[in-house]
Point group: C3
Chain length 363, copies 3
């Protein structure tokens, strides 16, 4: 697989300069690039490496002095990261799973596979499951009874889609992702310590020892189109209705989405995010790595949580939040500046007390 | 599968009113409910949806004006969430794994399976393993050498129970759960930076570069009856003795229980909780989502950690904790109120300094 | 398997006293030890249990009065935890996976296996993969196309090594670990709310709804020698070059290492740690449980992050950090002491204001 600089520029709808016929086979960082590789030098500090490598072509920022770096050709992207999306899609050879139905796969005769579906070794597809056209179910995947997966899915090795889960088109899911395990919902015969602590804001805990009764998850999981779900991430099924995620959402690795949660379209959930049961998240929301959303919370459209923020109450649309508990980012920054200056404040107040007590003649 | 309202009321030991012969097949939210579904309308705000749906029967709070909502029958639960437990158990069709021993399963001739055990496709059961009566080992599960699993277990697809792990009756485990991986225990030939930093409370770090020697986990994991373990959760084996979890504990997804940890009975560990090595947790403890327990800590019975709290020192019985580091919930709330009001405090002190310096004539 | 006390002392290069011919078969805690077990009693508080157990030999601290505890022999370690490393390696029977190539394994004829390689049931090894001598690929493992694994690897059941991942010698990886899933890298056509919020420190969020374009991960993962990777941990592949981890690093369970991250040698990443994309971590760094490192951060050699710390800016070499956001540990301790004393400070300032306003005659 190789592409000319002119072909790439055309596919990405960006400009190039120099020798459009120069062909590249893959990408590399500037210092590592061989003669047939395209150096990725999006910023001046990355371009320094070009001298150590052997690249003859690079993708650079607009206005870059590419000839001064000894290159023969350059791709010039007005928004380099966005151009990188198209370029990387062109050049990705992918995992190269074998295609076709592997003879070891256990596929129920009551499952329905579309046109051009591949199923890897040791995959299991249960009765009533439906797989859309052009989907690839990787080795060792599990698709439960009556699960429905749309067209063009790519399930990497070891993905689990549980019974009665519904998934739209073009899902990408990574190894160990578990879509549709039971929700975590338990109840004690009498009010538990957690219920009392919440009602009393922590003044009262529990005084009795009770065992937990299980609330079964009668709902499933419904997921829209163009989802990506990271390795070992978990999306739990709902109690009465489905847990729901809209179109275009991207979940990183080790993310937890609890039962009954509703997530809109085009949200990003970075690694290790946790969204507790029954919370509702709007569209275009970004949850930074390790951030958490408490249960029964509402997060408005376009809200952004900084990394490791923990939201304990509703967040309005468009709000940028940080901290634990999360507050508006600028409020958080001001509070923490104050926290760092606290020791000095204590000293100031101690001195003031002395001065005032002298003035008042007390003490 | 369908049930009459009277049957449900009898099974759950709750009251009903109206037409006890009305039959329902499943549950739904009020607005989505079809005529043969039971609407779940536990609170007045949920009951509003009844007008949009077609439910003829609902589960409601005591005293609800069910006839005013046009219903033919109602189940009245004194504690609706608890009634939901029994109701959901009645109506859950479950994952419907095929029963029997799948011909592809690799079961050691030296393993012992009880009566009525099912084993799914591509499951592996090693030598010396014992599986109790009426257990279902799902597809792609792994049961290591000499592992013992009690009666009535339900292991969903892809659960891993490692060698010499001991599990009581009625375990439910979800995909990707890993019970009995090695503990994370390493030591340097000379005292490491971590040891020095702990001893000196952070004043002294490490100055030398050493490699880590592995401490093998010679213990296993011992788990009681009625455990539930969520998807992709991990319970590590102990160093000298077993890591231990009592009866009735429920672990959500992506939970980590470190080596040598001891957990009592009837604890809840919500999603993404981490309990570090050798900590001891009592009975009926609730650890909120993303909360953490440092190593070698003791947590008393009935303690509750709010979401994302991090416990760095022992917690007495019954205490409700919040924050990082976690403190009593009301202390935490007061501190954080103060933090938010800090900027004003700095301004007040600055003004006081001015006023006092005027009074004293200094500066 | 049994060892004499003298053999153990010689292997661990430590001293023993008493009957060197006494043989032990395994270890136990003092109170649980049978006559053929070595009691592990590293500290005086653990030695008390010897009276309840039946141990005739123990590993103890130097200077311990072992005869006073009724023992026949003792191993005396100058650094007991380090001696435990060697002792536990001697006594660990391990998981006892069957050796040889299981007939059910699907191994591409284009894969290359070294001498004495074992492959478990339902493992998949794709075309172009290379496995070094004396490695054990456990049951249900997946090794992608062109992945290379060095000598002496131990991959427990259910490990996934994705395509074009390169791993050194003596890897130990636990169930569900996923090495080489795609990085989490998405971009919007126009600057997104996250980009704006970062540029403006949170004053400006996003105002437009855009969908996310995927940046494919063209790089892989390169890992050195002597790595250990915990259960369900994830290491993502790089965008242009490989994500890299040096020699001797140990990763606990549920750890996330993002795309393009570079980690040096001999680092410890405790459970549930997250390292976001493109961050660079030096040698001998210790990241405590649940700690997080923001993207594009640099962490110097020998730095230590306390449990649950979150690093939002660069950390110099040797620094011990704590908190969220993480600061020097002693600064953090001082700040938090201040936070706890804040309510009293507010009262002091209120009183001062009263006193000063009396003095100045205002109000």
């Amino acid at each position: 697989m190789s592409y000319s600089i002119a072909e790439i520029a055309q596919t990405l709808s960006i400009a190039y300069e120099g020798d459009g016929d120069l062909r590249i086979t893959s990408v590399a960082e500037p210092a590592d690039a061989a003669a047939d590789q395209l150096a990725i030098a999006m910023k001046p500090e990355f371009a320094k490496g070009l001298a150590q490598g052997s690249a003859r072509a690079a993708m650079m920022w607009q206005g870059a002095d590419w000839q001064g770096f000894g290159l023969k050709a350059v791709l010039l992207a007005p928004r380099p990261r966005y151009a990188m999306s198209g370029l990387s899609a062109m050049l990705d050879p992918g995992p190269e799973y074998p295609t076709g139905i592997h003879p070891s796969a256990v596929i129920s005769p009551e499952a329905t596979l579309g046109e051009n579906v591949s199923v890897g070794a040791f995959a299991v597809i249960e009765a009533g499951a439906e797989i859309g056209d052009n989907s690839l179910i990787g080795p060792q995947c599990y698709i439960g009874t009556q699960a429905r997966i749309g067209q063009g899915a790519l399930l990497h090795a070891g993905v689990r889609v549980c019974h009665r889960v519904t998934i739209g088109d073009r899902l990408i899911a990574h190894g160990g992702a578990c879509i549709g395990a039971d929700g975590f919902s338990f109840v004690t015969p009498e009010p538990s310590g957690v219920e009392k602590a919440r009602a009393s804001l922590g003044e009262e805990g529990t005084d009795s020892a009770q065992s937990w009764a299980r609330i079964h998850s009668l709902g499933g999981v419904s997921i829209g189109d163009d989802l990506e779900i990271g390795a070992n991430s978990c999306i739990d099924r709902g109690t009465v209705r489905d847990t729901r995620i809209g179109n275009g959402c991207k979940l990183d690795n080790l993310v937890q989405v609890g039962h009954n949660v509703v997530i809109g379209n085009d949200c990003l959930l970075c690694s290790q995010v946790g969204v507790a049961g029954s919370s509702v998240i709007g569209n275009n929301v970004v949850l930074g790595g390790q951030s958490g959303v408490s249960d029964n919370i509402s997060i408005g459209d376009r809200a952004i949580l900084g990394g490791a923020s923990v939201v304990l109450s509703n967040v309005p649309a468009g709000r940028v939040m940080l901290g634990y508990p999360a507050v508006k980012m600028d409020t958080h920054v001001e509070s923490y500046k104050g926290l760092r200056r606290l020791p000095r404040l204590f000293r100031d107040v101690a001195e003031l007390k002395k001065a005032v007590s002298k003035l008042t003649g007390t003490h």
